[in-house]
């Protein structure tokens, strides 16, 4: 039994639509006869049969579109002809040349390419060879000030850092993770104290309204979505920074560099010692639920020790909350190259006078450590006031 298939009618045809049969079951056909019409992208094509015999079965009805090679009819062949008759020439068939979608030519690169807007906070800019040497020597690039263009750390910077370090007694060769982290934090804190003229401000905030709102809010939420008050504090700081961008950014290459995006780093103390402050990206744009989710995820993994360093993108400002450790006011050390640090103490029931009445209110002490090269107390104070105002409207957070 010979098969009459949907033919390949051109270089890039993949399927064809049967328009009509010119023969029916039982009809005799000769090699070269036109027995069907097929529609392709380009034109309607008369399709010939390559075998001689009688049509046994029709499998495809007019109107059906089938891939090339699909069996459309079966032909009971007469005995192989001794001498191949002069077959009529199969009608030439058009290949639908489906034009390849024109690839959008990439626009010619502008002459000077503006530095790409780095979504995440400032990564440490360091040349590949400098990074390799720093890794080999066990020096944390964060502890080195880059002298290359745009503050990039160069090979020479690392070499000098290595010499400076060689002058100090070499640390015990086999340092475990916590000790190495201790050393890195130590170096950063020392540099901060050396370079950053800190000023400190504190204020007291009545947490009554936000806590009441929080209790109501949590009743409506399932266990997994439940909020902790720390989330309100972080969101308030983030929203306040929109009005005080000078507190959100870095001191780089001898000048303040405010950052358009707000990535609040939350200081988390690790089990067994050590501290990390991973940033929550675009903190100001997250809803409280989203903030809580990433907050909880970051903290759980950090405290369980499974937070990889690669996830530690650098924040544009850091918030530290030691209330649970029983501390009332925190006057922290700014993490270079940031220019501010916000601290929150514990919430304490205190006698509170308002409109001549004394009542007991849950009071929280909020502090700001500021880099006096970038901002002065006046700006810091206004910022803390903004944080307090935001906390009094928790539903807007």
């Amino acid at each position: 039994m010979a098969e009459f298939v949907m033919p390949q009618l051109g270089a890039d045809m993949s399927a064809g639509k049967l328009i009509q049969w010119r023969k029916k079951v039982g009809d005799r056909v000769e090699r070269g006869d036109i027995i069907a019409d097929v529609e392709t992208d380009k034109a309607d094509i008369e399709v010939e049969v390559f075998s001689t015999g009688t049509i046994e079965k029709i499998l495809i009805q007019p109107g059906e579109k089938v891939p090339v090679g699909t069996v459309m009819a079966l032909i009971r062949e007469e005995g192989k002809p001794a001498a191949a008759e002069v077959p009529a020439v199969p009608r030439e068939v058009a290949a639908p040349t489906t034009p390849v979608a024109p690839v959008q030519a990439p626009p010619m690169p502008a002459a000077a390419v503006a530095p790409p807007r780095v979504a995440e906070a400032l990564r440490i800019h360091i040349s590949p060879v400098a990074r390799k040497l720093a890794a080999d020597l066990g020096i944390d690039p964060a502890t080195i000030t880059g002298t290359g263009p745009g503050g990039r750390i160069t090979l020479e910077d690392v070499q000098q850092a290595a010499q400076a370090q060689a002058a100090k007694p070499a640390p015990a060769p086999e340092m475990d993770r916590a000790a190495r982290m201790r050393q890195a934090i130590g170096a950063a804190m020392a540099r901060s104290k050396r370079e950053i003229p800190h000023y400190y401000l504190s204020t007291t905030i009545d947490m009554g309204r936000p806590l009441a709102w929080l209790t109501q809010e949590n009743l409506k939420r399932s266990v997994e979505d439940r909020l902790v008050y720390g989330v309100l504090l972080v969101k308030a700081v983030a929203l306040a920074l929109r009005q005080f961008p000078d507190l959100n950014g870095f001191w780089v290459g001898g000048k303040p560099t405010p950052k358009p995006d707000i990535h609040v780093g939350v200081a988390i103390s690790l089990r067994g010692g050590g501290l990390v402050a991973p940033a929550i990206h675009d903190t100001d744009r997250l809803s409280l639920g989203e903030l809580m989710k990433s907050f909880r995820d970051l903290i759980q993994r950090a405290r369980a020790g499974s937070l990889r360093s690669s996830e530690l993108s650098d924040p544009t400002i850091t918030v530290t909350s030691l209330g649970e450790q029983g501390v009332e006011a925190v006057f922290g050390v700014i993490y270079p190259p940031q220019v501010a640090l916000v601290g929150f103490g514990k919430i304490v029931e205190r006698p509170w006078a308002s409109e001549g009445q004394i009542t007991a209110r849950p009071i929280l002490t909020a502090t700001l450590s500021g880099d006096h090269r970038v901002t002065d107390g006046h700006r810091g104070g206004l910022f803390l006031a903004a944080v307090e105002r935001l906390l009094q409207e928790p539903s807007l957070l």
């Binding site: 009743l219 266990v223 997994e224 902790v228 720390g230 909880r296 903290i299 405290r303 020790g305 649970e324």
Partner: protein
Amino acid sequence: MTRDEIRSGILRALTQVAPEVDPASIKPNLRLRDQLDIDSMDLLNFVIGVHKEFKIDIPEADYPQLATLDGIIDYIAKAQAQK
């Protein structure tokens, strides 16, 4: 569910939050927060773990009943009995 089964379920949730803790060393009648380094976030993650483990809801108001291991076991046993 027996008290022991409840106990092991609770410890499973606890080690999720504090992997370095040795379950055997926890004293059942002492405040957990005094025996372990647990902050408010750890507590919330622990409560969520218990909620998943035993499929019971724990309103914030009941947190005080969860101060000690025995307290938690009693709380869960009571909750399961009501279900």
